[in-house]
Amino acid sequence: MNTDAILSFEEAMEKYDPVLGFEVHVELNTKTKMFSSAPNVFGDEPNTNVNEVDLGMPGVLPVVNKAAIESSIKIGLALNCKIAESCRFARKNYFYPDTPKNFQTSQYDEPIAYDGYLDIELSDGTVFRVEIERAHMEEDAGKLTHMGGATGRIQGADFSLVDYNRAGVPLVEIVTKPIEGAGSRAPELAKAYVAAVREIVKNLGVSDAKMERGNVRCDANVSLRPHGRERFGIRSETKNVNSLRAVEHAVRYEIQRHAAVLDAGEPVVQETRHWHEDTRTTTSGRAKSDADDYRYFPEPDLVPVVPSREWVEELRATLPEPPAARRKRLQADWGYSDLEFRDVVNAGVMDEIEETIAAGASASVARKWWMGEIVGRAKNADVDPGQLGVQPATIVELARMVEEGKINNKMASEVLDGVLAGEGTPSEIVEKRGLAVVSDDGPLLEAIDAALAAQPDVADKIRGGKVQAIGAIVGGVMKATRGQADAARVRELILEKLGVTV
């Protein structure tokens, strides 16, 4: 049970100034492991992606994966780091069944990348610079499943089962310098920072970057100090916070908990905390003690990595456009307002909209479908919009049928449901379900086309969002049909035609 007292966030902020620090582990998506040629694949049968190196058998020799070095250098460059002229691996010694060698091969005093920074854009556009201390290479550990305990947690477990498929998977650990001055925006910054790192490694193509699979994992350090004091307070380290939302919540919670401890006149314990998603609280892990005496020493089985400056520049030349720059470009290309674009980014459909536009949809049609139709469906299904599997071509086809007046928006939405249910392509579904705009709309559509063609400037205004201008077009249609058309229906058809949602 968690019984820690907490202060309200507002009160904590009045009294204290938070300092943050993050260690983000990124699993690389190389074909093979860091030091062995066993495959780096998620989700296979236990202990089948292992060989003698991964199992730490006596007398085996590790050999460094060149692709993993290249990915690490790319990450370093994308984080604006310096790349070491020479660096070494080191052994981090500890006894725990997740590492069969009894040490983790890591880097200690010579990381491959150091002294970088990342500019983080907060939701209101404020840019906050996070300094990067280092990014170093290491290997992942095996996966333990604790069995027999009442809750499946380690406390109360009778035994543990170990799968070494993950042992030796290449990792890059990104460590920030202490982050000061975030104030009450610390939780938001925490989330935005981890999101930015995830976006960068995904954009580089060096990691699958799926947090739910542990491809990106965050340890969050939090400490508080009274306003105006320079010296840092004692920090806690919350381990394995594995979703963006959880990062924000964990930092917020730890700030509130520290504040209550300090208010009670007690010292904060320097310790590891475990995050619990269900209660959105942390509980004490172990206190930092001599168990953290890892006795690092240079790995004698591996020789130094000496990236030539030519190699580094070659890799720099392959870097894709940075995500922040890409966002700026796409917003300008698509002509979305700041608010529209932020909504698109927050809904996580920027890539999807880009693909849909590339497939032939207009920017406004792509946004209408993703934001107006698909995001809501994804929310209902509790998945990411991209996971629904809507193909860009489907949207292009649906939009074309609406534009040609074959179906209206309501029918198109119905057809999309059919596509998602696996009933076929849009035109197949339209045929199968006998969907078509009632024939009465035929003459109306002709009149609308004529009215739009007669007043292209008004049409543009409506497209641009000035829906009130529609009266002029409706008026034209009513005149042409001698007032016999249903004005509401006419209005609906005009909006559909122009791809405008109200």
Binding site: T30, K31, T32, S36, S37, A38, P39, E45, P46, N47, T48, N49, V50, N51, E52, L55, V63, V64, N65, K66, A67, A68, I69, S86, R88, N93, F95, Y96, P97, L144, T145, H146, M147, G148, G149, I154, Q155, A157, D158, F159, S160, L161, V162, D163, Y164, G285, R286, D290, A291, D293, R295, F297, P298, E299, P300, L302, V303, P304, V305, V306
Partner: protein
């Protein structure tokens, strides 16, 4: 270099999960001190012009291409395990060290 004392040995034993009796600690403190002194004699041979190194051969950038090689079957992987279950290594529950 400071000598290895009994507390150092007790500390190392704890880190290494090795249970040692009082007599063993005393004996090991003495023996380790001798070993460390012997190794230290290397520094007498190496002058200031010899840099510290982690590797005796002046090599660097020994890499492997990212190409999948051999793997064990789960059965092979587990063949030396004292205990296993569901194709996984079975180990006693270890508390407070996760």
């Amino acid at each position: 270099m400071a000598a290895i004392n009994r507390d150092d040995v007790a500390h190392l034993a704890r880190l290494a999960h090795i249970e040692m009796s009082a007599q063993e600690l005393d004996r090991m403190a003495g023996e380790l001190a001798v070993i460390v002194d012997s190794v230290k004699s290397v520094s007498q041979a190496a002058g200031d012009d010899v840099p510290a190194t982690s590797h005796p051969i002046p090599l660097n950038n020994v890499f492997r291409e990212d190409v999948v090689g051999h793997t064990f079957t789960a059965e092979q992987a587990l063949s030396g395990a004292p205990d296993s279950d569901e194709n996984r290594f079975k180990v006693p529950a270890i508390l407070d060290e996760a």
